[in-house]
Every structure is written in structure tokens, then in C-alpha cells.
């Protein structure tokens, strides 16, 4: 008799085996185990493995840039199994650690940043015998120009969408804070030469860039699953998040999902602040989970960027990154990424505190920058996401975002 991968009889119809059109169940494994068994009436399973993310760094100087940690690597494959079989040891790496499914799938962790040297992304390795094998690298952390206060975002984890998005980086001469990387979209880059701007986290697409044509401060939107985030229109109007795949119209001011009729895949609009009228940045709208990550069917939009007196960037929906927060004289928090989305960067001008948005699962944390001695914290990475960096201009409490731990996810569809 033909023996399967574990010395057991091969499942029925093995020679003509096809993967199910869609996985219908999943289980998230967050600690090392040798006790996982195959559910009844299941003959093949998808296995996704992510390594942990690297930590960001900190500084307390007006002329020191700091970088984000790298995202974890990714490995995926379909294994043949029989019901009730005990699976090989599943190793789940901690922060920056390696995760593995037996010796068949291994994903290394992203490395920690050091000063302004960003962490590098982890890698994925698969056995040649696995069906549907995919491997991808994590994204690198973001970094800033030499001699300029700057906070880079953490890198996103690798995935079936491709290599993880890098944390946003700076290349101009202005001070800024950038968003974390998402599944394949990087955090928004900071390209202009004026101080005081923050960029959104990446999702499937990039976070909005602070472009060379901007000559003022502001906050950009997070990337969505259908398009990149937008830039800002000055400090009083934040950039809109990137669209989701369900978006059918343009977002209207400050609403979640861009409009009352959009229930899936809408982007968050930017915040708004003019002469005392303050509208919060909108959240992205959409749905999705780990099944949608491996099937590449995430639909959510990105969060909108804040305005100068609006303290928070909008949160991203699944597949979307968080919007950035640029604020003056109030505390600022970057928006959180949805699953696969990076957190938004946060820049606080002379106010109370700055906190980078946390990455969603697989997303990197946003960078955070304060222009005075205020508490500043880089955003943490989600599972496999790199941590964002944090810097203050002159002392004060400052904390780096920590990289997320690794994770292993099992998928199956009964009857296959």
C-alpha cells in the first residue's frame, strides 16, 4: 500500500487530489505544541507560518533618526493528512523568533533595528514536496535621513500577497514619523522638506506619501486593499485612506467607510479642523480574517489621516492600514491597522504625547515623534509585524514599539 507523508495510508482519491475552492475553517496557534490533531473528515490542510517581528529603537534628540524593526518571514503549503492524525511539532517563535511546522515549513523572524539601521525582514522556506507552496520575506523597517529627527515604522510580515511592506522611510529634510508596513504595501514615505508630517500605514497597498509637492504639515491616509492612501491637504484636512475592493464611490467628509451606503470595502476619510469645527478621521470599513489573507480576498479600506486638532488617525479595516496623526498641542495616536495593515505614524507638535498606531495582525507598528519632552511610544507590531520607533526632541519618556510574536495558522475544509 502507498504510504502517506507520515507512514499512514494515503487519503482517498489522492492521485487526483485538488485543494478545496476555499478554506472554511482555521485555527490560530500562538504557542509551541506537539498535540495538534487533524479534524474528522479532513484529508488535507493548509498551513501558514509566520516568524516574529523585530523591535524598533528610540532616541531623545532633535537630530537623531530612528528605525523600525523588520517583519517576519512567511511560509505556506498544503499537507496531506488523515483524520485524527497528530500533526508534527508546531514551533511558534516569540518576538523576532523562528516559527515552523515540523521541518516542512519554516519562517524566520525579522531582526531588531539598531539606531537608524532598520531591522531586516525574515524569510520563508518550504519543502519541495508540498502542494501550493508559497514563501515570502518580511518587510524591512523604515528609517530616516541622517542628522534629522525622524521615526520610522516597522515592517510588515510576508504573505501570499508577496513580501511584506516596508515601514515608511524619509528622504527629504523635514522631521516626520512614518507608518508601519502592511501585507504588501509599505508605510507612506516622507519625501518633503518641511517639518511636521506623519504618514499612514500600509495595507495591501501603500500608505499615503507626504509628497514633494506638499509644502506644509499634515497626516496622510492608510493604504487599503484596493488602492494606496491619499496625501493630505494641509494640516487641517487629513488624507483619506485607500479604498477597499468594495468601494463604489468617493468618500465624503469624515465618515467611516466613505459614505452611508458603503458597508464593505470603504475607506476612511481624513479628519477636518477649521475654526473650532473638528471632525474625527474615519475608519476603514470591510471584513476579513486569516482565510482571506491566504486566499487573498481581503476587502477593507484604510483609515483616514487626522487634522491638526483631531487627535487620532482612523483605524484600518482588514487589509487596510491605519491613518496617520499629525497634531498640534493635543496628544496624537496613529490609527491601528486591520489584519494585514500597518499602524499609522504619529507626530505631535508641542503637545501632550505621541503614540504610533499598533499594527494589526501581520502589520508593522507606526513610528512616533514628539517635538518636546513628552511621552512618546512607537506602535507595536501585530503577529509577525515589526515594531515602530519612537523619538523625542529633548528627553522625556520614550519607548520603542515591540515586534509581534510569530504565529501558525491551520486551515481546512471538511470533506476535502
Amino acid at each position: 500500500m502507498n504510504k502517506g507523508l507520515y507512514g499512514l495510508p494515503v487519503p482517498p482519491n489522492a492521485p487526483t487530489r485538488v485543494a478545496p475552492p476555499r478554506w472554511t475553517n482555521f485555527k490560530v496557534i500562538t504557542s509551541t505544541t506537539s498535540a495538534e490533531t487533524v479534524p474528522l473528515n479532513v484529508y488535507q490542510m493548509g498551513v501558514a507560518v509566520w516568524g516574529g517581528g523585530g523591535n524598533g529603537t528610540t532616541a531623545t534628540s532633535v537630530s537623531t533618526p530612528v528605525a523600525g524593526g523588520g517583519g517576519g518571514g512567511f511560509a505556506y503549503g498544503i499537507i496531506d493528512v488523515v483524520p485524527n492524525q497528530t500533526l508534527p511539532t508546531i514551533t511558534v517563535g516569540g518576538q523576532g523568533g523562528t516559527s515552523s511546522f515540523g521541518s516542512m515549513l519554516t519562517a524566520t523572524g525579522g531582526t531588531n533595528a539598531s539606531g537608524n539601521t532598520p531591522g531586516t525582514g525574515g524569510t520563508g522556506t518550504t519543502s519541495a514536496s508540498l502542494r501550493g507552496a508559497i514563501a515570502a520575506n518580511g518587510g524591512a523597517g523604515g528609517s530616516g535621513p541622517a542628522g534629522i529627527q525622524f521615526a520610522g515604522g516597522g515592517g510588515g510580515a510576508g504573505s501570499p500577497y508577496g513580501n511584506g511592506g516596508a515601514g515608511g522611510s524619509g528622504s527629504g529634510t523635514g522631521r516626520g514619523a512614518t507608518g508601519g508596513g502592511g501585507l504588501n504595501g509599505r508605510g507612506g514615505n516622507y519625501l518633503n522638506n518641511v517639518d511636521h508630517a506623519a504618514t499612514g500605514g500600509g495595507g495591501v497597498f501603500n500608505g499615503g506619501d507626504a509628497s514633494t509637492t506638499n509644502s506644509n504639515a499634515g497626516a496622510t491616509g492608510g493604504g487599503g486593499s484596493g488602492s494606496a492612501g491619499s496625501g493630505y491637504s494641509g494640516s487641517s484636512i487629513g488624507g483619506a485612506g485607500g479604498s477597499g475592493l468594495g468601494t463604489t464611490n468617493q468618500p465624503a467628509g469624515g465618515t467611516n467607510g466613505g459614505g452611508t451606503s458603503i458597508t464593505s470595502g470603504g475607506s476612511g476619510n481624513g479628519g477636518y479642523e477649521v475654526t473650532g469645527v473638528r471632525i474625527l478621521a474615519g475608519n476603514g470599513v470591510g471584513s476579513g480574517n486569516f482565510i482571506d489573507v491566504v486566499m487573498r480576498t481581503l476587502t477593507g479600506g484604510g483609515g483616514g489621516g487626522s487634522a491638526s486638532q483631531v487627535p487620532m488617525g482612523g483605524n484600518g479595516a482588514p487589509g487596510g492600514g491605519g491613518g496617520a496623526a499629525y497634531v498640534a498641542n493635543v496628544g496624537g495616536i496613529g490609527g491601528q491597522g486591520g489584519i494585514g495593515g500597518g499602524g499609522g505614524g504619529s507626530y505631535d507638535l508641542g503637545g501632550y504625547s505621541a503614540r504610533g498606531g499598533n499594527g494589526g495582525p501581520l502589520g508593522g507598528g507606526g513610528g512616533a515623534l514628539g517635538t518636546s519632552a513628552i511621552p512618546v511610544y512607537g506602535g507595536n507590531g501585530g503577529f509577525g509585524g515589526g515594531g515602530g520607533s519612537g523619538c523625542t526632541a529633548s528627553g522625556g519618556t520614550v519607548g520603542a514599539g515591540t515586534g509581534g510574536q510569530g504565529v501558525v495558522v491551520l486551515f481546512w475544509t471538511e470533506g476535502y
Binding site: T98, S100, N329, V330, Y352
Partner: protein, 130 residues
Amino acid sequence: MKYAWIENDKVRDVCHGNPAECYHPDVAVFYSTQVPDDAVNGDGWVDGQLVKPAPPAPAEPAPRMIDASAVRLALTLAERVKWDNDSAPEVVTAKAEFSGPRTVAYATEVLALLVGAGVISQASADKVLA
């Protein structure tokens, strides 16, 4: 003893089992160094010896913040009447500036404005900042 992946004189990752069984062969080869059981990711590894990182410096205390309620409580009764009811530009602006928590340096500048305008005394300003 455990096996670890050493990179740039640091423990990049520790394997808690047999690397050959835990990881794909292409990755398992990196876990080639035996380290003490108390080794954790991020420890130093210099000349074959484990070097634990120095404990982090104690966090600096959070900066003191001052808001409108703290200012009002430090004023004399007569000054509170002005603070609550006066429509002078200095008072209106100061109240707007203290609409949220402010650092001591920031508050000092605003209080100096009020002292200069005769709204509050220097003694009250000092009391706010004490």
C-alpha cells in the same frame, strides 16, 4: 544546553528542541551553537560566552502637566472671579491655551501673559507652577 542562531555577536533565536526536527534543513543549519539554558533572544555572545544585556535604565518620570482646573485652584478668590467671568483677550486666550494638559514650560509662558495683564499675581503664578 540548547541550540541557538548566533548573528553579529548576539543570540538571534534560541531553539527549544532539536533544530533538525523543528525547522526546515535550510534554516536548521543556522542553529549550530550550543548555549546555556538561560539564553534568550537578544543576549550577547562574545568569545563563546553568554553576555546578558545591562538592565534598562529606570524610566524618566512623566513630565508634569498643567491644565485649566489646576490653574483655577491655585488662584485667589478675586482672581477666580476674573478667570471665570472676565472677557479680556488675555483671559480668553489663556483659557483656550489651557484647554488641555500643558507642559510646565508651556504653562509658564501663558501665566506670564496673565501676570503682565494684571489678571493674576506673580505669587499665584508661582503657586500654579510649584
